[in-house]
Symmetry: C2
Subunit: 280 residues, 2 copies
Amino acid sequence: MIAQERIAILGLGLVGGSLARDLSARGAQVMGYDIDPLPLRAAQRARAIREIVDSDFTTLATATIVVLCVPVDAAPTLLEAIAPHLGATTLVTDVGSTKLAIGTRAAALGVRTRFVGAHPMAGDHRAGFAASTLGMFTGARVYLCPSAESSTAAKTKALDLWHALGADVRWTTPEAHDAEVAYTSHLPHLLSAALARTIERAGHDRAALGAGGQSMTRLAASSPAMWQAIVATNHEAIARALADCAAELEAVRETVARGDVEAICRLFTHTGRWLAEPTP
Amino acid sequence: MIAQERIAILGLGLVGGSLARDLSARGAQVMGYDIDPLPLRAAQRARAIREIVDSDFTTLATATIVVLCVPVDAAPTLLEAIAPHLGATTLVTDVGSTKLAIGTRAAALGVRTRFVGAHPMAGDHRAGFAASTLGMFTGARVYLCPSAESSTAAKTKALDLWHALGADVRWTTPEAHDAEVAYTSHLPHLLSAALARTIERAGHDRAALGAGGQSMTRLAASSPAMWQAIVATNHEAIARALADCAAELEAVRETVARGDVEAICRLFTHTGRWLAEPTP
């Protein structure tokens, strides 16, 4: 029962803020922490959090669940700071876009049995508590990435947490997760930035973009700090995905250059069918 | 006054259908044509058109404006078929995504003074009359591409037509237009298809896409016939844009591979600012 949990949300940005809103709406006792006092105050006003975690983290001893909702390069350091204050059965989880780095740190800090990494495939290019909403995780795919040492109790609690929010939970490993999101999330974001840069360098104004060009460059306005952090923790897999995409793009360029328009028709027919495949 | 015009819309897909709806709503006498009887009937039921253009095009003699709304590779042939039936002062225009090919054909067919090419930057990946809506062109950028021989009367009538629909009209040449949209529209669509193919080839399911991945692959479901036609009429400029983007992508890959995360932060900071620039 989520209403019986005392949940600490550390970091009240878009995802942390939305999580706090959802959990409070379901009756959980939510406490919040942020290095910036503004989102803390906004979260209190919005009744997304009931109390504030003290800056030396001693309040965390009473939490049954702690969720790290900070950029993935800040999460390991934060985990190190809070580790001494955690209860013996507290579930420690996170919402970061990469799972290997934080999992490795959890093991090194001796919280491996209590740690189950999570990654909700939700959110958009906006950032901050102001962009947070109720119901962000309803129907969203959420990857849970336990280590081999994660306890059954921790895994069950993590599953219950996301099920309570209506998420579509998928179990995977940190390794498989990071390899997959390099293609399904990290590549699209970097591609959007590369496209924006290409159009700008060619001397065209962003106001000249049609609806298609706008939607393809929208992610280039994503948080620079967040993407710096994601690349820092998954650069090998992302570089492979970028190389694959560059090869695909070169194949398309070659097809266009030789005027093989039937091949372009086949390409869009193929991708259109792929996109229309029913969800498994 | 648009209400005094007799306007023939040839091709009742997404753009032609939306144009017919808007013009009828503003009191113009709209007649429609489509090789497929289904959109014709749907347009009549929706009161988007008042009458049907006969299949030998003799009805067009009474039209004051004729708008070609067919794929860009079909437009030149259609223009050839209707040319003998046009009145001496009829404005002939179109809505295609490329402007050189149709402009060249208009000149060859002797309708160069009456032809002013147009390209509304509106619509999305959907196709067909069923996707057409009222108000699609309100605030949308519309390029008008007259030739050096286009008459002042034709240019004025084309301007009035799009102003009546609330469009943001920009005058340009067919050459400059095709070079620009290769970057601002054609490249984003082909990039979306290349991304979808990359993710599929890496063995990942389209259901694994988050919100960002979904928005970046959405255009890969665009009409194969339309994109075949656009590439057929602008392949040199599109190949250049693809080559530029591939070079940009390679630069990003190289940055990621060597773990230069500060450069990734600078990239997103730069593109975020570019996207936030006020519209000129």
